[in-house]
């Protein structure tokens, strides 16, 4: 007993602390690695080389970029609202990294085994909106404000479909806990009975982290760079890495919720999780290479007129089947 805490508790605290650090470092490093992978893959799919000079196969390009971005002047425009301008990029990193806390990477590797895991994820993703809104507002720039207005509408709308699509999975597992949801997929991956939910979740997730083809908030042809027009140096870097963290997070979520998480034969659980998640990360890049950006009203109409009815129908049918079986 030390300070009224038993050795067993201290051990569990130390293990959780180590797991937290490993997960934080792992997710940030994975997000950074996504940058050269994306550029090389885009090059491959667009019949060009991509960056191939720095290091073997251009793999050290990201290191060069990082050194450059760290030594850039940390400039805040004189007309900006300084406090909010500084907080904004921190919010997106914070909320996205917090969401990694509830993801079960293997049977024993979950930092916070919350009973309301899925709701926690939704809460974190809805808080992420503030980053973009405050960035756009505090910049005091019309392009930034337009970009953040679009984001607010887009993210609030697509959050609805994201939450609804998850209801089917929750009904099947009978729990909000992500570990239980993975366990419930031992017989069959959720992607088979919940295929519409999977498609809706993937689209909504893509819109939630505003990746191409849903990158309207930063559509460079019309809005220069959208909400981060005024940002430079490491603050811009945080938005940039935040976006890739978002890709890693959504890929991990798709793996956990619809593709059986760590479950799989022969290989250890973590390897299965990594392989599945990595497949979806590459799929995000393929989406960027292969799709065009819709117009803003098309995006909204698609969400409310197509995704919402399908999501509601999916919930109703799943609910009816679950009730009939019990």
């Amino acid at each position: 007993m030390i300070f009224g805490i038993s050795e067993h508790e201290i051990l569990s605290i130390v293990v959780t602390a180590i797991l937290t650090i490993v997960t934080l470092m792992g997710s940030v490093i994975m997000a950074a690695l996504m940058i050269p992978i994306e550029r090389r893959l885009l090059g491959l799919w667009q019949d060009r080389y991509g960056p191939n000079r720095v290091g073997p196969f251009g793999s050290l390009q990201v290191v060069a970029d990082m050194i450059k971005i760290f030594f850039k002047e940390d400039w805040i425009p004189p007309f900006a609202d300084k406090a909010v301008f500084v907080i904004a990029p921190a919010i997106i990193m914070f909320t996205t990294l917090m969401a990694f806390a509830v993801i079960p990477f293997t049977e024993s590797w979950t930092i916070a085994n919350l009973n309301v895991g899925i709701l926690f994820l939704l809460a974190m993703s809805s808080l992420g909106v503030y980053s973009v809104i405050f960035a756009g507002w505090s910049s005091d720039n019309k392009y930034a404000l337009l970009g953040s207005m679009r984001t607010a509408a887009q993210m609030i709308s697509y959050e609805v479909f994201m939450g609804l699509s998850l209801l089917g999975v929750v009904l099947l597992a009978g729990s909000f806990n992500l570990g239980d949801i993975v366990e419930s997929q031992r017989g069959m991956w959720n992607v088979i009975p919940q295929f519409p939910a999977f498609v809706i979740f993937f689209i909504a997730g893509c819109a939630e982290i505003h990746r191409a083809p849903f990158d309207l908030p930063e559509a460079e042809q019309e809005l220069t760079a959208g909400y981060h027009t005024e940002y430079s140096g490491m603050k811009f870097g945080m938005f940039f890495v935040g976006e890739y963290l978002g890709i890693v997070l959504i890929s991990c979520l798709v793996t956990t919720l619809f593709f059986g998480g760590w479950l799989g034969p022969w290989l250890p659980g973590f390897v299965w999780f990594f392989l599945k998640a990595f497949f979806f990360m590459c799929f995000f890049i393929l989406l960027r290479a292969a799709t065009v950006r819709p117009r803003y009203d098309q995006l909204m109409a698609f969400g409310w007129k197509v995704l919402l009815p399908i999501a509601l129908l999916n919930v109703a049918i799943t609910g009816a089947i679950v009730v009939a079986q019990s």
Binding site: L114, V116, L119, F120, L122, S126, F134, I156, F176
Partner: protein
């Protein structure tokens, strides 16, 4: 958990105080969001994890975003801040302070003298129990609330539509894609 509760409680109080006294509306909203998050942590410390996450999802994540959205459009500048400061004169604090003092007295009384009479009894509810209650004994209320919200939605769309503008758009661009007219306003 008790320490967490009190730390979060103090943060909630301080943030709420700043929400009221802050002259810059967006900063005030930031403080209000912080206060909501602190209240959510308080719920969590009390063992009501479901209520805590709902607080974040609904209030901090959805309602406040709409508030920020509206305030963002108001084209705020230094002038607004000065005007707001001018509005927040000490004389205005008298009325609210009296009522707040009454509340404080009531609370202190109920915690000390009234504590013997007994507080409100209850156990924290799980998501399951909330759902059962909503769609069991309270299903009529839920349906009525749904009616009300639907009516509000229809009215908002009706008021928000500008028929003249829509007619002009149709005349200029033919019949295609009237949805864009809504975008144009």
């Amino acid at each position: 958990m008790e320490t967490t509760f009190f730390i979060a409680g103090i943060v909630a109080l301080a943030a709420t105080l700043r929400t009221i006294t802050c002259a810059n509306p967006v900063h005030a909203l930031l403080y209000l969001i912080t206060s909501l998050l602190a209240v959510a942590i308080d719920f969590y410390a009390l063992g009501a994890a479901f209520a805590a996450t709902l607080e974040v999802v609904v209030y901090a994540g959805a309602v406040m975003v709409l508030f920020v959205f509206v305030v963002m459009m108001l084209n705020l500048n230094q002038e607004t801040v000065t005007r707001e400061r001018h509005w927040l004169r000490p004389k205005l604090w008298v009325g609210p302070s009296v009522f707040a003092a009454i509340l404080l007295i009531a609370m202190v009384w109920s915690m000390t003298v009234g504590g013997a009479i007994g507080g409100i009894e209850g156990t924290p509810l799980s998501a399951n129990a909330v759902g059962m209650a909503l769609f069991g004994p309270y299903v009529l209320v839920v349906e009525l609330a749904a009616f009300l919200l639907l009516a509000a939605l229809v009215v908002a769309i009706h008021i928000g539509r500008d028929e003249r503008n829509e007619a002009r758009w149709k005349a200029e661009h033919g019949e295609r894609e009237t949805t864009q007219a809504g975008e144009q306003q």
